[in-house]
Amino acid sequence: MKIISRYLSFVIPLSAMLLSYTMYLTLYKVVENYKNSIINDYAIVVVSQETVEEKAIDKLDIGMRSFKLLDKDIIIENLKEGLNENSVKLLNKELPNFYQLKLIDYPSSKTLETIKRKLKTVSAIIEVEVFAKDHNQQYFMFLMLYDIINIFFFVIVLFSFLTLLKHIKIWFYENENRIYIMQLHGASLLYCSKPIITTALLSAIYSSIIAIIAIWYILNNLSIFISDELLNYNYIKVEFNSDYFSIFVLSFLISIVTVLMVIIKQKYEK
């Protein structure tokens, strides 16, 4: 019974931490997927009197995905309403070139400013429109989401870590006499701590298994956890392939680091 409660005191905080880690990963991936999906719809418009070569933009190293000249006829088609034939002809003659510039990654507001500045160094370019207001609103939302996810993850890790730390300290307190007797016979503190180290390692394995089963269940039963409306969006669907390994690593790291910290503290206290 004592052994079971010792294992539970490790497995519960570790599992809570790993589940919060998977939530952190899931939200992070959803946000990344969402960023990738909206980057397809986001474009900078570059205006020039002369032709601008794609190579010239590529040289600027701004993370360009595509650079395309917009069809003048389509632009004029949108503008010609209410204009007479002469005005349309004049417009056709005077209208500068409009280019659509798409980026590989969704840029930060600062990056966007840098891109705008770099584009303006090309002499042929007379105007750059980055649609900063719309962009900044969306980027602020991402930043806020990231911050909330990070704070949430940090708080859970901190609480799990403190809970583990407390349980390990209690174990040392409970086993004070046993450790003293073993040390009288020449055992090192590390040797005396074998049971708690074994508990930490096995609990790390059990907690990882619990977390992985939970992820597997959630991913295969998304409709239980997410509304049908959201399920229609592709960015909601995330994959965890290589992250299972990181769950194992995190679990082992936290449990071993916590135990070693207490052992080192005990050593220097004596």
Binding site: I181, Q183, L184
Partner: protein, 221 residues
């Protein structure tokens, strides 16, 4: 010399010395009794021999190791070559009799088979074969002390330190313990140092007797 003290001073609080300016030397295979009144510092001397307290002044050498400047790893190795018996037995109550006896063997890195065979031998030696899987709480005081002696003998140490080993025992149990310690000294050539306020009568082997008086150790001839 297996143990040598020169002008040794010992204290628990690093202020007032309980043992003052004491010199003594102990050879291999000596059987030593240290006696004195309560609070005279008998146990303090024993504690200094297994490194629980460091000398306040003077020099204490145990197996050629200076106990004042001993490193933690050296102390662990020194203790691995010692057997310690206490008045309150200091058995691990969560472990069986067999596991308690195996403890120094496991710490010394013996294989499981060796631990097992040595435990069997010692349990027979201290006549506790039937209590192999019992827990200390299920044994009488005399039996617990026999387990404690068996544990001290398990890894065939060079030195056995015993602090009032018969202090809580009846006369019969005490005589069993004295016989076990005598056997360790005579048959296994182990140096035995016993702190006691009551030296057994008819102790029919050669032994040396030290007495503590006013913080100094004197040998009685």
């Amino acid at each position: 010399m297996i143990i040598e003290a020169i002008n040794l001073e010992l204290s628990y609080d690093k202020k007032k010395a309980i043992i003052q300016n004491t010199s003594f030397a102990i050879k291999k295979r000596d059987f030593i009794f240290i006696s004195g009144t309560s609070g005279s510092g008998k146990s303090t001397i024993l504690n200094s021999l297994y490194g629980d307290i460091k000398p306040l002044a003077g020099q204490l050498m145990v197996k050629n190791i200076d106990m004042e400047n001993i490193k933690q790893s050296q102390l662990m190795n020194l203790r691995k070559d010692m057997g310690i018996v206490f008045q309150d037995y200091k058995l691990i109550k969560e472990k069986t009799v067999e596991e308690n006896i195996m403890l120094p063997l496991q710490i010394n890195g013996y294989t499981e088979e060796l631990c097992d065979s040595q435990a069997t031998k010692l349990l027979e030696h201290v006549r506790l074969g039937q209590a192999r899987y019992a827990y200390p709480d299920q044994l009488s005081g005399g039996e617990q002390q026999r387990v404690s002696v068996a544990r001290a003998l398990a890894h065939n140490p060079s030195i056995i330190l015993a602090d009032e080993p018969t202090g809580n025992l009846d006369d019969y149990s005490a005589s069993v313990i004295w016989n076990l310690l005598k056997g360790a000294n005579q048959q296994l050539d182990i140096t035995v140092i016993v702190v006691t306020h009551r030296i057994p009568v008819n102790f029919n082997i050669n032994f040396r007797h030290f007495n503590i008086d006013e913080g100094k150790l004197y040998e009685n001839y």
